[in-house]
Symmetry: C3
Subunit: 461 residues, 3 copies
């Protein structure tokens, strides 16, 4: 509705019809911004203020009255005042009786107060129909008209009709109201604008940590080792070669971490013989951020794909290629085609392309609008079947790429394995465990447990 609403509003000044008067308590920044926008949308606005002197900051077409007078002029009163001052409303309880009172306040911290501001307001004004709304909208964006982000306004309240009235105003301002149910949803709505990607924090910190580790691991083996023992300065590997080594490793490890918690959960359930005991906390949290882990893995895979495709453009690669060709030419011979090499090179490229393709497909189904359009069966099919196929293809891609070096001693500089060997540990483990769990003798009891069966009913009936 993003675009639609905006264009609809842009085209519909609707000045001909009469809209009901709206009263705003408080002449702070958000109160003024909301008033401006409402007047633009054709609502007569009355401000309720302690000082009824007309301030130049208040929109010109708005009236400024005392709180009591202003409230009597309108059926809807918007409280644009911080929660700490709500108690001044107690003497107005009678005037506000039966009116729609809109709480638009936000807090500074998550769960700052035991109850939400809107519920607190409802306790102060038992006769009023309290509706929570508008707190997710930015005053600055409202006024400047640059609402290119979410136009969604969460609305909740116990009175259906009051909620409808507020939702009509929301729509008239070119925003999209989203009914969140009763006033009990207010706390969640008040917490919402304070969040900064809460589900992404752990996956991002984990990725940064692992990336730094693998980067320095590569730095040591590929640049420092070469510099010390072979007296070659490959410091420019920092810009391209090492990132393109770290990215695929990160993608593979994170992808394995997406599927590992599901396997751990299955093993725990098999061991306990019941699904009616909670998983350890860390496992619960891990399972909840699988989508984010998968998307970060996809980001690394995409970087790896573009880095790899761009590598023929590198000055170093072009120099190495011509050096090889010239040395052949100067020796007056052409090497024949190595069929094994051709097979290996084509297979790992093809596996990489297919794996990445499936990865993107699984990623697209994570888009909210796509995942809302598939049912559970379809979602599990894509995320589980296609996801595992992606993991298999990507693991095979890495295995074939690095296969020939596994047994070569030159791959173990300072007795350390190369990072593509490290990167294979987790995915191979996941695939082996999954392979074991798929066997009927293990899959059957697991399915039974997940359907509610218990191995040892604790209280025999």
């Amino acid at each position: 509705m993003n675009k639609n609403s905006s264009s609809i509003m842009a085209l519909a000044p609707n000045t001909s019809n009469k809209r009901e008067t709206v009263c705003i308590f408080g002449t702070g920044d958000f109160g003024r911004a909301l008033g401006h926008k409402m007047i633009q949308s054709g609502y007569p606005v009355v401000y309720g203020s302690r000082s009824t002197q007309i301030s130049n900051l208040i929109p010109k077409d708005a009236e400024v009255l005392s709180h009591a007078e202003a409230a009597q002029k309108a059926a809807i009163i918007i409280i644009a005042i911080p929660r700490q001052h709500y108690n001044f409303l107690t003497p107005l309880a009678e005037i506000l009786h039966g009116k729609v009172v809109v709480d638009i306040s936000n807090n500074l911290k998550l769960n700052q107060y035991p109850e939400s501001n809107a519920e607190y307001l409802a306790q102060l004004l038992p006769g009023a129909k309290v509706v929570k709304a508008f707190n997710t909208v930015s005053a600055w964006a409202l006024q400047s008209g640059t609402l290119d982000a979410s136009r969604q306004v969460f609305v909740c309240g116990d009175d259906m009709e009051a909620k409808q009235m507020v939702m009509n105003i929301v729509r008239a301002l070119g925003l999209t109201p989203l009914d969140q149910g009763s006033l009990m949803a207010a706390q969640g709505i008040e917490n919402y604008p304070l969040q900064l990607f809460p589900m992404w924090k752990f996956p991002i910190f984990l990725s940064i940590g692992l990336t730094v580790f693998f980067f320095f691991y590569c730095l040591a083996l590929d640049i420092i080792y070469t510099y010390i023992y072979e007296h070659n300065n490959f410091s420019f590997f920092i810009a391209f070669t090492i990132p393109n080594r770290v990215c695929p490793v990160m993608a593979l490890v994170l992808l394995a971490l997406v599927y590992l918690p599901g396997l751990l959960a299955a093993i725990i359930q098999l061991y306990r013989g019941t699904k009616y005991r909670r998983f350890p906390d860390w496992l619960d949290k891990w399972m909840l951020c699988r989508k984010q882990l998968g998307l970060i893995a996809l980001a690394f895979a995409s970087l790896h794909a573009v880095f790899t495709l761009a590598s023929p453009l590198r000055s170093f690669v072009r120099w190495r290629t011509s050096k090889g060709i010239i040395s052949q030419a100067l020796n007056n011979r052409t090497e024949p085609l190595d069929h094994t090499n051709a097979w290996l090179s084509d297979s790992y490229l093809a596996l990489g392309v297919l794996g990445y393709f499936l990865f993107v497909l699984v990623g697209i189904t994570s888009l909210p609008s796509v995942s809302n359009n598939v049912n559970w069966r379809e979602f599990r099919f894509v995320q589980s079947k296609l996801g595992y196929l992606t993991l298999i293809l990507c693991t095979a891609h890495t295995l074939i790429y690095g296969g020939k070096w596994f047994l070569s001693p030159s791959a173990y500089k300072w007795y350390l394995p190369n990072i593509y060997m490290l990167s294979l540990v987790l995915p191979c483990t996941v695939l082996v465990v999954k392979f074991v769990l798929v066997f009927p003798c293990i899959d059957k009891p697991l399915t039974k447990i997940r359907q509610g069966w218990e191995r040892t009913p604790r209280y025999p009936e």
Copy 2:
């Protein structure tokens, strides 16, 4: 709302406020899972069960009573019992009179019964306000909290208020209710979770069939023929070369199949002189899966793009390049730049890039969230104008690529045309027919027919 709801719920335990008691009939797996989740969200839960002995599987904070007693304690009764046992509810009809009865059942097959379970329930309990809900949610996901797929819960029912009550519960559980209208929508809602990509089946089977055909066609011409007549073993072409030959062919053929049914429909309408007769069934079905055909074509085009961009990395390609350069060097000469070749090569690459770019653009507008934000005029502009432009560019790309080989006899191994020639048949036909249909003398009557005009009114007035 996917993420929002989840985070809102995570932050809003809402244990302070009192929620109304909910009664659940049936202590099966889904009944228990729903009860667990409701208790977590602050609802007092009463189970109605034949045996009122407390089973350890039932959530600890829930009460277990007889059906009649449990129903009296709550205004909302959730029926977590299979349809076959619904008739046990008949004696309870009086107690359930006026109450909200929620049908959450699913069937095992599409359209298993003549009427939906919810409508059957409404017939059994004429006094109850039956609401259909929750059947699209997985019990396992509900309990484990791993609801990363669709959080949408379809709700339908004839009583507005009853529906609102159920929708409030849905929201309180962190899910998004979607009002589907009256109880007549129940059958659709019950069928929904049983589907597995119903619109994708035909396009996917068609694609697999064609892919297999083209793969073996290429295998025969490129590997077997070469092996027999030229004694060259190019078996490694299976991994990369042949996939990258089949993908563009599939993309082009499927893209042509997207636009063919529209042309056939136009021809049928022109021939019949009316739009008021149904198209043949196969054409109707074909037209309904055009979007899916187009997206599969885009997938093949993407694979072709990545395969092509990755080809300079192939060991075979590098070998062939150096062989060419070395033979020039050994012959002590540099070939001059072939301007025709440079033009051809640059044009078909540029056409391919542009065609693919437009293809992706058209694909992005197929995303539900994007297509919901454009009106009909805009959607048709993108899908029709840009779509045809994509087809033109891709066809031109293939024509220029293969052009020089059309007349060469070496392209006809075993008297069979190369597959890029095959791939051009359909798109060229579509473009020619479209070109003819665009002529005013044909376009005008077609437009008139589509606006409701008939050439030969069957019953003259």
Copy 3:
């Protein structure tokens, strides 16, 4: 809901239950198409017509009566008649009293009449409950069942219950109703289907203009100049080289144009010392189309990425490479690796890859379904922080790429700078101004102004 609804409807013929009769006034094309579809969905349909003779165009199962008779048979009357003929309804006002009257009309031009058709209808029939609906749906698509575009039907009206009845019909036809509030929203809804990407017009024209300019600039410097002064015919550069020079320039310039208006707004606010005065009109408009400018910039960046990755496949590039290698081989020498070059080449490639990656990330958050799932804080973080990082990376990518030519006189053909120098002017300006604005001594007063502070209150209290 796109797919869902369609499949639900396909599976739920719902012929068993009785739906209420619907009356349609007018037997024009849209009236007939709607009637057809309603009969298919199980609604008895009665047509109201001047001539009650049965026309063969009208669906067979529909009754045709006089307007008055038809209206009496149904609670919902759909007016499928152009606005000019609405006055014939005045005598029917009594019969339509209390009934739901649905206005489905569209106009030919934006804001053709002072009030919307629906509001005009409501004035003519003061006793009727007027609801606006269905005008955004195409008659042709409705009848042929090829509703692959938006299934959203905007509904508005002053009577809640009447709106619910209409929304139930909308759902039964397999469409998604979207409540737009009171009847005052009707004008916007009537204007909606007439738009053709209104927000995209200016950005697209600007892009075309700039593209044409840069194309001819390159043509002059790269082909004509070379032809005249060096007698080299590089006309084939038109197909690939020049597009791949224009695309990155366009991407960088447009990306800078996304961030420029924000800086201008900040400067204006700092100069004026208040945020309570409107920006100049051009700045307002510019700020509203930043998202579109950014997406077009992303499109150019994507083209540049694919063009660049495809360049090793070019016949010209392969010829140039082999020429270079052969000349080295014939001179019997291999050039050593130029470390500075390796660093430069790897850095600008890596910066390009990272910049493009972030650009795509910012682009993905512009998808409506994604931006609806983030709150304001998150949206601003991505669009502002990541956006500026993208601009920095892309500018650095261009600087390193072109750096070495800045001082070379050969880069100034006809005393004109190369286009990558031109392309750097705007982004560098934006980055410098932004850098200045970030300083605390400037950032602090700006923040105060944006929170509502004024330097010189115009009317001292």
